[in-house]
């Protein structure tokens, strides 16, 4: 017995380092649990309850295993930038960073000057290895960022407004003057999508293989690139809108309009899912965080607002202009206007964004768009004289998953991945505001009857409304007699009260019927019905 007691005491004394580690793992486990467990108390089916309880336990175990794998098995660590002493991180220049960093990373800091061919816009593949650039005057190019080699460049001799990669680097779509075109990696034109019209912005929904575009007349088109079928074609009703972004969490397209409102669309409905008023002026830029909860919008009213998409509330308002916004994988926000780029970061963990880094490119260069490169600490800036790329430590996800996006993909792996992702292609009906609803239980519809106090309060509120609405009218030329006015008020009050009284009556009737039904069925016909 004495030995056992000693064992117990020893078991409780965990060395502090291990305690720290286990606490860290506890915090990480929450991330992998993906929300709360199901409420099994509501179930009456004991067999199902037992099976689900076992499964819930399994989820806990797998979440713990994933947290441990994250702690111990990840090959790379993330980047960081720490200022020492009175130094501030936003005063640190790119040259200073370049001096501290290795040669390989210094290659990522460069400026490509192409002055004649107009402001440049670019797009990365999901692995961050290939970049497609489009100059306004018709210059299209694909570049392999690992080797900095040009794969293909060509001139289309037309205005190009946007470029986007399809599911891998073999195909990309360019929004040209009249229609969007789809090109091969070798520059061969594959398709001319005439139905879209003259489009301003293109976005590709990766899981659904849908190409979304918004054109000059404010029409939104969704086209399935595997079958070529036009899945949806809707008039937004708000006119021309330059700002379109896809929310990677749920596949919803958000459009920013010139009256300051933002609408969110899905391909299976002709009315927007959500319409929210964001700014006092036109919306100039839009970006989504990859976790689906955070959205940043910028408007002409010199404000950058951060929204919580679960409650559709403003989390933070920052002053400043932003012609383009982008979130990095780790949650840093890049905002730029003119020739100035600022990067904001959330370091306190409470979704409070503050200045992290600044960068000004040469005066006179107008920034067209900023884009973080996936899985790297690099920000690509497309401007009127070409494009540049700068180092932003801590912006990229250091550990990639080979089965999601592999920057070191071979051609065989790329082909396999293409086939597998085609098999997993989601139908357009799965696009919804909350994608976690798929596979959950339908909630029990329990209409809770409002209590008597609530009902009275509602009635009084309706009566007050009615009174107010009536007293507004004031007639002239002798038609404004007080008796008539009071009669009108009474009528309005009665009309407002009527639905509540009818409900009370029907409830009383139901009570009577339920009292009657306590008798057996065969005797119910003999109950005297008191009118």
């Amino acid at each position: 017995m004495g030995v056992r007691q000693e064992d117990d005491i020893n078991a409780k004394i965990i060395p502090p380092k291990e305690q720290e580690i286990s606490d860290e793992i506890e915090i990480k486990v929450k991330k992998y649990l993906r929300g709360e467990g199901a409420n099994l108390e509501v179930l009456h089916d004991k067999k199902l309850k037992g099976q689900l309880a076992v499964r819930e336990e399994l989820y806990g175990k797998s979440a713990k295993a994933a947290a441990k794998a994250e702690k111990w098995l990840m090959p790379s660590e993330g980047g960081y930038l720490e200022a020492e002493g009175i130094e501030k991180t936003w005063r640190i220049k790119q040259e200073a960073i370049a001096r501290e960093v290795d040669i390989l990373s210094r290659k990522n800091q460069h400026d490509i000057v192409l002055p004649e061919l107009g402001p440049y816009t670019m797009n990365f593949t999901s692995s961050g290895r290939y970049m497609a650039v489009a100059g306004r005057k018709g210059h299209l190019a694909i570049i392999d960022m690992k080797s900095m080699g040009l794969i293909k460049e060509f001139q289309v001799r037309e205005a190009v407004r946007d470029v986007v990669f399809l599911h891998n680097e073999q195909f990309f779509a360019a929004a040209q003057k009249k229609y969007p075109y789809i090109y091969n990696r070798d520059g061969t034109e594959l398709h001319c999508l005439k139905e879209h019209g003259a489009i301003l912005k293109l976005q590709f929904l990766k899981n659904h293989f849908l190409l979304a575009s918004v054109n000059k007349f404010g029409q939104l088109h969704y086209q399935d690139v595997t079958t070529g079928q036009m899945v949806g074609n809707y008039r937004t009703g708000h006119g021309r809108s330059d700002v379109m972004r896809v929310n990677p969490f749920n596949g919803v397209i958000a459009l920013g309009h010139s009256n300051g409102s933002l609408s969110m669309w899905k391909p299976t409905s002709s009315a927007p899912l959500i319409k929210m008023l964001c700014h006092h002026g036109p919306v100039s830029a839009l970006a989504f965080h990859s976790n689906g909860h955070l959205m940043a919008t910028a408007g002409m009213d010199r404000k950058i607002k951060l929204w919580d998409l679960r409650k559709f509330e403003v989390l933070q308002t920052l002053p400043g202009h932003a012609k383009t916004l982008d979130f990095s994988q780790k949650g840093l926000l890049a905002a730029s206007t003119g020739s100035f780029v600022q990067i904001l970061g959330d370091f306190s963990g409470s979704q409070n964004y503050s200045r992290y880094m600044n960068h000004s490119i040469a005066k006179g260069y107008q920034v067209r768009n900023v884009l973080f490169r996936p899985y790297e600490d690099v920000l690509a800036i497309g401007h009127s004289m070409g494009w540049s790329s700068i180092l932003i430590p801590g912006s990229g996800e250091p550990n990639f998953d080979s089965w999601v996006a592999n920057p070191f993909e071979t051609s065989k792996q790329r082909r396999e991945k293409e086939v597998k992702s085609l098999l997993d292609k989601l139908p357009p009906e799965t696009i919804m505001l909350d994608p976690r609803k798929i596979g959950t239980m339908r909630p029990m519809r329990k209409k809770e009857k409002p209590s008597k106090q609530e009902r009275d309060a509602e009635m009084e509120a309706a009566v007050a409304d009615a009174k107010n609405s009536i007293t507004r009218k004031k007639k002239t030329k002798g038609r404004n007699k007080p008796s008539k006015r009071s009669k009108k008020v009474q009528e309005a009050v009665e009309r407002a009260k009527r639905p509540f009284l009818e409900e009370e009556l029907s409830q009383k009737k139901k009570q009577k019927i339920s009292e009657q039904s306590e008798l057996p069925k065969s005797l119910q016909r003999f109950v005297r019905k008191t009118a």
Binding site: A69, A83, P393, K425, T430, P435, P520
Partner: protein, 452 residues
């Protein structure tokens, strides 16, 4: 200022030689994967469809008998062999892999009603309607060895003649005794020409007998007075009797939970009981439309197979009310006996049309050796399909089975009849005093009495 930037060197992330495997790195962060539930759902749907595409359960038929197959026995020591006896007295040993007869055991004059193999598998016991119990030596040679002598008769080790026709025989799992069922239950020893012991409770014939796999001295029998009786060899009197509304054709003990047994009944359903508590069935397994003739458990104890008079073979989970799989063919007539193979992957059915048929227990299973990646992929598809199999689209595909028209119509008719009875009972309950008609669950309803 402290700075660190992500820099990946190509050597760490790619393979050195082309003979190496490609390197795979995992990050389980849910933020990297968008819409994972929708992707899983699509995969479940595709997995259900693929399962239906690959569902080819029929492996082969073994023909050779010239009369209906009445009983089968499996040898627990040999995976590939199965014994079968037919209505004209022909007993054969089959090799399942080649689907050929290894050897025949001629001798019975009438129908062979029961077959069983001894614990070590060397002796085969057969009994029939010609009032004899015959013991045979089982040859160890396979088909390839004995080409010439494949059809040669094997002389019986012993022939014991007794007073009445026998209906069934079963051997102890771990002992030397075997029991026959006829006018009464007789316990025999290999070497004695007369039964060592005899049990009787009532004057009706005993139709089937089964020894308990866990407790070698306990056996369950079913008789034509609609009863199931449990005997203990150590006590000279029977232990318990349970009378149901209809006759039980066959009983099988769960090899993994030896206190539970399942009885295949004439009223188209199977009843699982706990032998310690016989007043209520643990589970009622309904899906057949005609009498269930035979039942056998899988060695895993998780599912069992039943063969019924309605020409189908069904596989049930041990605790499920409805079958998970149904097998039928135009050529298969009334199924009289079924056996689960000793590795749990095949089901053998013996039927009226003189053939034994081998079916896969899992219809879309890939036979043969699977490479580890293939096997893991199959397991993943199975798991993801099970996760979403309650949703309507997936459920529709998973549940769909083609049934022959007579069985489809018969099951619809049964549904209408039970629904009508239920409605009538509800109305009677509504028009009688509250509490005067207690609700009796189906598990209890079919039992008349339990007698000690």
């Amino acid at each position: 200022m402290k700075v660190k930037v992500i820099s990946r060197s190509t050597d760490e992330f790619t393979r050195e030689r082309s003979q190496d495997l490609q390197r795979v790195f995992r990050n389980f962060d849910p933020n990297l994967r968008t819409q994972e539930k929708a992707v899983e759902y699509v995969r479940a749907l595709n997995a259900a469809k693929l399962e239906k595409i690959f569902a080819r359960p029929f492996v082969g038929a073994m023909d050779g008998h010239i009369d209906a197959v009445s009983c089968m026995a499996k040898n627990p020591n040999h995976l590939k062999g199965i014994f079968s006896g037919s209505m004209d007295g022909d007993v054969r040993l089959w090799d399942l892999a080649s689907r050929q007869t290894v050897c025949q055991f001629p001798g019975h004059q009438g129908a062979v009603r029961g077959l069983t193999a001894s614990t070590d598998g060397r002796i085969l016991v057969s009994c029939g309607t010609d009032c004899t119990v015959r013991l045979w030596n089982v040859p160890l040679a396979t088909v390839t060895d004995s080409d010439d002598s494949s059809d040669n008769s094997v002389k019986p080790l012993a022939v014991y003649v007794w007073k009445n026709a026998f209906w069934a025989v079963d051997h102890q799992w771990n002992g030397d005794l075997f029991a026959t069922a006829g006018a009464q239950v007789d316990i025999w020893d290999h070497n004695r020409s007369q039964p060592v012991n005899s049990f009787e409770w009532g004057k009706d014939t005993v139709i089937s007998v089964r020894f308990n796999p866990g407790e070698p001295n306990v056996l369950a029998t079913s008789a034509s007075d609609r009863s199931i009786t449990i005997y203990d060899l150590r006590m000279s009197s029977p232990a318990r009797k349970l009378i149901m509304r209809t006759k039980t054709n066959s009983i099988a003990w769960n090899p993994m939970e030896p206190m539970n047994f399942t009885a295949a009944n004439e009223d188209c359903s199977c009843y699982s009981y706990d032998a310690r508590k016989l007043d209520e069935a643990r589970c009622v397994h309904k899906d057949h439309v005609s009498a269930v003739m035979d039942i056998d458990y899988s060695p895993t104890g998780r599912e069992f197979v039943t063969g019924s008079y309605d020409r189908t073979v069904r596989i049930f989970q041990f605790n499920a009310g409805h079958s998970r799989e149904v097998y039928h063919t135009k050529r298969m007539q009334r199924v009289f006996c079924v056996k689960f193979s000793c590795d749990g992957s095949y089901v053998i059915s013996g039927s009226d049309d003189t053939n034994l048929r081998i079916w896969k227990a899992k219809a879309s299973e890939q036979l043969g050796v699977l490479l580890p990646r293939e096997r893991r992929n199959q397991e993943y598809l199975e798991a993801v399909k099970n996760r979403y199999k309650h949703l309507p689209e997936v459920k529709r595909i998973v549940r769909h089975r083609h049934l022959p028209k007579p069985i489809y119509k018969a099951s619809a008719l049964r549904r209408i009849m039970t629904e009508a009875e239920r409605k009538k009972e509800e109305r009677r309950r509504a028009h009688s005093a509250p509490g005067s008609m207690p609700r009796v669950p189906l598990r209890k309803k079919r039992i008349i009495k339990e007698i000690e």
